[in-house]
Subunit: 315 residues, 4 copies
């Protein structure tokens, strides 16, 4: 086994590109990536494949949006294939601008290009201000700005993107803050190859994917009881199809605590026993610094005391 | 209150268009829509808005794909706004073809247009046969075929769509059955305004959206216990962000049985008591005809016997 | 079916005798029995047999002591045979005196007679004051006083009984308040034939005996979930052997609420479904007047609102 | 700490006397006690006090009867005071005879002496054959035989006891097998001071007393979930009053497995965390040799594999 690589040993950072996306903003907010190499990828799959192949040392990818929900490409790519682990998370507030080539009046906009997730988040604004505008999908929000910035014909009159993308491309901003949900946030995770386990900070999260042994009724209930009985709180639960058949699901779950915590360790062992497979996707510091609010009897000291008591009984 | 409209009174059927999509295939498979008016809409939102406005009587929309998971646009549009109900479901096997203008050899394909969900389901095939092809997003799979069929410039060399769309548009099929998962199925639901409650058939499903009273740990566990204690099996559970804040979720759930079944009624009342809101999205016959496998003590006759016994005690 | 008899129609009250027992004190504390006929019986079985036979209209019997626990004879006699129901309860503080024939000094007491349950409750005092006294079992505490009061030989020098028994029999009290637990209380129940259902008062209790369908692991857990999911609190749980085999138990349970309460009704139906048998032993006002502290979503109004909502969905 | 005493080091065995009781039969059935000193005690309390004081090395006492239920004196004496542990159990089939002084005809029996627990188990036979016989309580079944065997006056005409007691005392057996339940069994436990932990045999039991942290609704449910989530089956659950107040209970529980088993260890730690106190009363071989029927995922190997997997994640 190779010695664990500490975050200091991460040199090449991939991200879901192109430049000007919210994902780049997330990577820019990651201190340990400052001054290192940043490489854009065309898709989450491409970034994670490069990571698995050793071409990069870490990848920043979106995993969850407070309005649109889980990012399927990331969830599914982490859930299968060569193991990867999350080593950190970044929360980025999401604000959209409507931008166009200089000189285009808002009233003349007939077509709008952007990524489908962004479009879903500005539908309200569009309904009120450009009810007749047609939607043209692009590969990313930044791609809509880039297309407008290129000379020649373009498929749409205006784009929806992050303020930084409009600025980068020298476009005119027709309207700011056009997201329907002012408090929209996207959560990004920094992914690495196994071998890097961040130290527990007391305010950590752990991510797993659970595959049930069989699809019996009450199966999910049984999994959740493994958390409840040790007082471990979940912060995200997504069901994702395994692809095997309609109705066959696995569960992607984030929960409070670190794999080195006693209560998390016992919970993981319990899940391991009752699941067909538990895929461990890492323990890492929470971006919001929130500490778990342990029910009586479920703090780590309670686990330690119980262990000491048992050792004594067995002696 | 207007008298309930029976399915016979449904005359105008909307669907997620354009022509040539899998959704149209689902509507074609719905016997009661034969010979009625079929109207394509550009988005799930547009179809459901027209339904809410009374412009159409029912809308066929996708809700769940066995490979890609829940269809967020449908889930979210049903979960908010004026109430709508599901009155039926259709399962459509998903098969994709690669098509192009007549004369284009497979080896010359450099760019491929299709809907992002379809692209996700043919990535494996593309990696093996067209590893260097660039992806161009379109609004639907059928839209990629339609674009190729129009004269003049087009943004891509080939499209990925349903066989029927390639045929409709007179395109050449370069490769058949290119989906990575041969058993991929999409589930469509026929949605109507409340007032239409299909009769129980003994093989039914009910759909609800549950909003928790507060986001306390163990909240989901409490909801699932309401099902378990009455022996009601879930067939789908999706968490969807409410948009209020990162980590604030509602749950979209399908389960076995009909609102008129005793055990379903008691389950719904239990959920209503412990949730902030229960949004009832209809009871309808299952497309697969599967009957629930009731645990001892949870069949409808058990509920009836228990009710008779209680009435006797109270007399 | 005979018309229900109201408590006013109860004329003949049996009790676990003889005169001078705590059971008589309980019956004396029952207002509705004032001025009616009071008949002592030699055992709980004898009293309940007379009640079943119609020789008496009600019987006051002990069911639970705060120090000694459940009274097996009562629990078992109610759990089998012709149905009977509890229609009320009385709490009696338990205080014991040591009594003897006039002239007997405490220091000369060598043998002490009393009922085995009373002996268990004064062991501490005896250990400190009469460590060498031998114990002689009697059929009741009052019987020990009665024996001392009769002329001629007696099997013991002193008795342990209620203050009233010593007074009734003209005995000398050698020591007062000799119980080891100053707050000892015994709970008595007034039992009648079915047909008498006390009105709900808002502060009621219900008693049942539950027989499991099979003795599978987790069987009791399943029963308790029927209570938990409707927010119904248990106030007593006793396991009693069914006699069928070592390890075969039924459960005698008291819980808050009245059979006419919505949440109690649904709980009883749930138990009826999952149990081999539910024996209903009555709903009656609590002696302590305590009202249930319903969790959010489990008050009767919550059940009513949920029912109205369901009726609306089904309309 | 003194080195653990193995059963071979037990020399003086106390039991609930007098000679001729079922408890003596249980001690006779305990191979390791053969040839050692056997000392009868007048009560369970007396035997366990002598054990705590070091006057004896072990004590055989009854704990549970298949007809009459738990033996309160034993349960309560083990639950409080200086710790003791169970190191073995014996099952004794219970058969009663009716005996008298030679020459007494059955038809002349007017009074019957025996222990109250025995009387409870022959009530049916008495109702059929001696419906008018009065009951006289004695300290034990053997004491009734001993009283009849002594010269001079006696308080009753016949006794109910074990066949061996009638034989020992030279009495005449008027009727055999008079127990109402032909398969009645009493379970006895051999109790010792802590320090003796029998080896796991694969067919073991563990006994604990659980004191809840507070008497909240659902408290017992929470305790049972600690067992359920590790697949540990209970074989006995008794609630016993703590004496603190009416309705304040602790739980005396036997369950399958040995404290050295992984799943039992984790269960005990879980109970320790959520309880105010867990009193460990020993792990010992089951008298019936029954092995636990572990649910999938709850066998000791499952625990071992889960531990190895976790250790690997943490490395």
């Amino acid at each position: 086994m190779t010695p664990p690589r500490t975050p200091d040993q991460l040199h090449r950072f991939g991200y879901l590109g192109p430049r000007g996306t919210f994902t780049q903003m997330a990577l820019d907010a990651w201190d340990a990536a400052e001054g290192r190499e940043h490489l854009p990828f065309g898709s989450v799959d491409a970034a994670l494949s490069a990571l698995r192949a050793g071409d990069i040392d870490a990848a920043m990818v979106p995993i969850e949006n407070s309005v649109e929900g889980g990012v399927s490409a990331t969830l599914d790519s982490l859930a299968t294939g060569e193991p990867l682990v999350v080593i950190g998370e970044v929360l980025v507030p999401i604000t959209f601008v409507l931008c166009a080539r200089p000189g285009m009046p808002l009233a003349d906009v007939r077509t709008v290009g952007t990524h489908s997730h962004a479009w879903a988040q500005v539908r309200g604004w569009m309904g009120r201000h450009l009810p007749d505008a047609a939607y043209v999908p692009t590969l990313s929000t930044a791609a809509s700005a880039a297309a407008l910035a290129q000379p020649g014909d373009v498929m749409f009159d205006a784009g929806v993107c992050a303020p930084v993308a409009a600025r980068n491309e020298g476009l005119e901003v027709l309207a700011e803050d056009i997201g329907d949900n002012a408090s929209a946030v996207t959560r990004f995770v920094l992914v690495a190859r196994p071998g890097t386990l961040p130290e527990p900070t007391g305010a950590d999260k752990t991510t797993v994917v659970l595959f049930q042994r069989d699809d019996h009724a009450g199966g999910l209930l049984e999994l959740l009881e493994q958390f409840a009985v040790r007082g471990v709180n979940m912060t995200r639960l997504e069901s994702r199809p395994t692809g095997a058949a309609m109705g066959s699901y696995c569960f992607s779950i984030d929960f409070e605590g670190h794999v080195l915590d006693a209560r998390v360790g016992e919970t993981l062992m319990g899940l391991r026993r009752v699941c067909a497979e538990v895929r461990f996707l890492g323990s890492y510091p929470r971006a919001d610094g929130g500490r778990p609010d342990a029910r009586p009897g479920t703090a780590d000291e309670d686990f330690d005391r119980a262990r000491a008591w048992l050792d004594d009984l067995r002696a």
